[in-house]
């Protein structure tokens, strides 16, 4: 059958089909270039000499190689703090979110649980209605969360969407596992820890990935709640400040930072270096995690 197919289709490769393939290839090449070029260009600029970079027209390779910008960025004390805080919030935030969401999903996915639908509804409502920016600012002030590290990890910890993704997955695990464990005298915590969790590792990985990326990339909470606290600044927020200093005085970014030395470091290259440092961990990791986020999106969306 298949053999027949191929022999039939091969000769019928019409002119239109060839044109299609050519156009499609061109489209994909354009797509890849547009996606990659700006990123690679930033990398090139970050390794370029400062004053030279201001002239622009750096392509994919630095014109005058220099790693001064990286030195400058890494020697800034705020950057060091920012890096530590960013890493910490990503780790602590992910662990907390994972533990609580998994437990909540476990509770609402127990078929015999007394308040199963009520608890689900309680959380689903939060997906549609939220208080908005100002009430949160006031709430965190009242709770004395503003100006602390915990404002990054506690408020967004439980999230109805992540919970639903996990719940869907847990619903697919046969009840008989739970029942037989209960016959052997296992309590609910043991069932959660020893039976359900080991089976849910793929979906845990998915949710952990979503949370971790969100934590690493967020900057707005730093600006709203910890603007004055230098010790809780984050990498993204520092980058934001660098970017702001450039966007606010359009085009006039030619002044050098330290004119005393002949070595040159300009805001352009410093920002490029900071950008590269900020995106490096994610770029290195994401290709290996593909299978998890594809699963997660498919569970959350199309499920047939």
């Amino acid at each position: 059958m298949i053999k027949v197919n191929t022999t039939v289709t091969k000769p019928r490769k019409s002119g239109a089909d060839v044109a299609f393939v050519v156009c499609n290839t061109l489209f994909m090449i354009a797509f890849v270039v547009i996606t990659l070029y700006p990123v690679l260009n930033t990398v090139a600029v970050s390794f370029n000499d400062g004053t030279d970079a201001v002239r622009g027209h750096i392509g994919l390779w630095p014109r005058i190689f220099s790693i001064k910008s990286y030195n400058t960025v890494l020697q800034k004390p705020t950057m060091k703090t920012a890096a530590i805080v960013s890493v910490l919030r990503t780790i602590i935030g992910t662990v907390l979110a994972l533990a609580t969401n998994a437990l909540l999903a476990f509770v609402v996915s127990r078929k015999k649980f007394l308040f199963k639908s009520e608890l689900s509804l309680f959380w689903v409502i939060t997906m549609y209605v939220n208080g908005g920016m100002i009430p949160y600012i006031l709430l965190f002030k009242t709770l004395h969360l503003s100006g602390t590290f915990w404002v990054y990890v506690i408020p967004g910890m439980l999230n109805a969407f992540n919970m639903l993704v996990m719940r869907t997955y847990m619903n697919g695990i046969p009840d008989s596992l739970e029942e037989s464990a209960q016959l052997d005298g296992a309590g609910y915590f043991t069932i959660f820890w020893k039976i359900i969790s080991p089976l849910c590792l793929p979906v845990y990985a998915t949710v952990a990935l979503f949370v971790a990326v969100g934590q690493w990339n967020s900057w707005f909470d730093t600006m709203l709640y910890n603007r004055m606290e230098d010790k809780y600044t984050t990498l993204q927020y520092e980058l934001m400040k660098l970017l702001n200093s450039v966007t606010s005085n359009k085009g006039q970014n030619s002044s050098t930072n330290n004119t005393t030395q002949q070595s040159t470091v300009t805001p352009v290259t410093v920002r490029a270096a900071a950008t590269v440092i900020t995106m490096l961990p994610i770029i290195c990791l994401y290709p290996f995690l593909q299978r998890y986020f594809v699963t997660g999106l498919t569970i959350g969306g199309v499920k047939e």
């Binding site: 089909d17 308040f115 939220n130 100002i134 969407f161 993704v165 970017l243 966007t247 900020t278 999106l297």
Partner: protein, 331 residues
């Protein structure tokens, strides 16, 4: 963030529907009667529930009570329950404020442009990528296409700002074709396209994941049969692939309508400047300006409440339409 929102909305309506249905027909599902013995048995679950509910009340429900501020002349000194009520005065101020009306227009315009363009791009990209027969090339392109999704808006806007700057690549290309170099961020007409481009650059590959999944679930026999009948690439896309993913397209479109007002705050905030303020400011930026910089908590809250209410109405309408379209099986 946008994507989590997208998918969030997709899966949610179903759960509420199910919950509602369950209540109407109690015989449908086994419900454990509430007894002391059962409660003792489930004490661990109940304990967790108590904690989750307390957490939810504090971090999700109390802020909603904060909406009261929109109807008050709120001062931190008097607090939420001591401040003077002013009725709808704040809302009246909002709708008399030209800036707010302008911001509604901007939010809606950018939301709609972003929604339409990202939708079309994701579908086109998914279909075309599916036509690439070389598996390695396909895999590589897809991996590259996800990359921007993992970058923060700060990074994306920084990169975009460089590309569009006077000495940037875009101006190089313009000059190459004989045009004049110019600063994109000084012209109002360019801002919405830039925002739309940023959105597409960041999310096309990511949004295409769901369509690619839908395409793979189409029965390959259909393509084989079409090939025997002499269908070319175009015919196969038009008569098999597109109808095959139509339900997915419909559902995602309807569900994203509720998100239109959320479409973009960060890009506008980061890339906007005083020169192009008129087209760059959105409702969220308005909240931020009044609530944080100008200390008028009540006005900021009122603008937020307005936005939330419109969003809820849009979501409800979208859900009704989705139900009527009869595409529930997707979830």
């Amino acid at each position: 963030m946008a994507d989590t929102n997208d998918t969030m909305v997709q899966s949610a309506p179903v759960k509420t529907n199910n919950a509602r249905r369950r209540k109407r027909k109690p015989g449908d599902e086994f419900k454990t009667p509430i007894t002391v013995k059962e409660m003792k048995k489930q004490s661990f679950l109940l304990g967790c529930t108590a904690l989750f509910v307390i957490y939810g009340i504090i971090f999700n429900y109390i802020p909603i009570i904060g909406w009261l501020m929109a109807f008050q002349k709120y001062t931190p000194k008097d607090g939420l329950f001591g401040s003077q009520f002013v009725g709808l005065a704040k809302f009246k101020f909002l709708f008399d404020d030209e800036v707010f009306l302008r911001d509604i227009r901007n939010t809606l315009a950018m939301g709609i442009i972003n929604l339409v363009t990202t939708f079309i791009m994701a579908i086109v990209f998914a279909i075309l990528l599916n036509e690439i027969k070389n598996t390695l090339a396909k895999k590589c392109i897809q991996t590259i296409s996800y990359l921007p999704h993992f970058l923060s808006w700060i990074v994306v806007c920084g990169i975009l700002h460089d590309a569009l700057s006077i000495n940037g690549i875009v101006n190089d290309v313009i000059e190459f074709f004989g045009g004049e170099r110019f600063n994109f961020f000084m012209y109002e007409g360019w801002f919405w396209p830039i925002v739309a481009f940023a959105q597409n650059w960041k999310e096309t590959g990511w949004n295409a994941i769901i369509y690619l999944a839908a395409i793979t679930s189409i029965d390959p026999c259909l393509y084989e049969a079409a090939a025997i009948d002499g269908a070319g690439r175009w015919a196969k896309i038009k008569y098999i692939t597109l109808p095959g993913i139509k339900p997915t397209i419909m559902i995602l479109l309807l569900m994203n309508v509720g998100n239109v007002l959320n479409a973009g705050f960060e890009v506008q905030y980061i890339l906007g400047n005083d020169v192009i303020k008129k087209v760059a400011e959105t409702i969220d930026i308005y909240c931020l300006t009044w609530g944080v910089s100008k200390w008028d908590y009540s006005l900021g809250t009122a603008a937020g409440v307005f936005k939330s209410l419109v969003s809820i109405v849009l979501i409800v309408i979208a859900n009704m339409l989705a139900k009527r379209a009869g595409e529930e099986r997707l979830f």
